[in-house]
Symmetry: C2
Subunit: 170 residues, 2 copies
């Protein structure tokens, strides 16, 4: 085993974005959660809706339960159901943001496959775009990254410099 | 080769969410884009900031260029830079949604590693939560999925039934 530089540890173990991708950054995981959001809870429902191989589905469900995104609870007839935890329900805004990008950039020419509508009003549902204080769309260049309370020293030192500081681009 | 049921084709080839995960559903891809959002553009910048192995970085950058998320452009000194395309810049809201979930559920006890602030005002930046028409947070059960213009017949038939319709749960 070769010793890894600290940066790799940071990216793979600490960084919440990297850790999020370890949980959700797998196509089937997101598709399983999507089916949960639209009411699926049983193994055979996921299997039928997704056309996923049972062994892959079982592994994905196990992973989502281990990560606390789903919980496996007894259901009638000796079966089990998979229910979203609070952590799992909180993926819904992220799913909407993902669907928004996918519908815009990856949909077939005819348009999105699925439209989400508010049950009570019929209004089309989409992730709200982030806005600047002046109401215009928020762009990457409008934002600066600063160390948060959990920043390790190396990250803190890097972020103390401005993103385009020559010391950083050396 | 075994024949696959149509559902698998739909999930793997057509569905924009599945296709999105094929492009972005890889931890390094998102981390590379995050560094783009905060000003990185050169191979050595990505390499240093992420502590990523050069061969993996090269493969990720190639993939992001192939998918039209980054473009590779000549820079001074015979070097190249990677710049976000419009498609790539449009990942920013999705990145913010991902960071929001990660900071809430996957951050270390001390808190988030990075805070994003609006450059002009210092205001903390976060993905806006989706809301119902009455202003309350939008939950999965508030939403119904209907066939969109690109829905293939099998999906159209399934979504014509209500999510908890007995015919769907059979």
């Amino acid at each position: 085993m070769q010793a890894m530089p600290p940066r790799t540890d940071f990216a793979q173990q600490l960084c919440p974005v990297a850790r999020t991708m370890a949980v959700l950054g797998e196509r089937w995981a997101i598709l399983v959660l999507r089916e949960c959001f639209t009411g699926a809870s049983r193994f055979d429902e996921f299997e039928r809706r997704l056309g996923i191989a049972p062994n892959i589905l079982a592994a994905r469900l196990r992973g989502l339960v281990e990560h606390g995104v789903l919980e496996r609870v007894p259901a009638e007839g000796g079966r089990h159901e998979y229910r979203l935890t609070e952590k799992g329900r909180d993926v819904f805004p992220l799913y909407l943001a993902l669907k928004r990008w996918g519908d815009r950039w990856m949909a077939p020419p005819e348009g999105p496959l699925v439209e989400l509508r508010e049950r009570a009003t019929g209004r089309e549902v989409a992730a709200p775009p982030p806005l600047r204080s002046d109401g215009l769309p928020l762009m990457p260049e409008d934002v600066v990254a600063l160390p948060g309370p959990g920043a390790p020293p190396a990250l803190r030192a890097r972020l103390a410099r401005t993103p385009k500081d020559p010391a950083d681009a050396a």
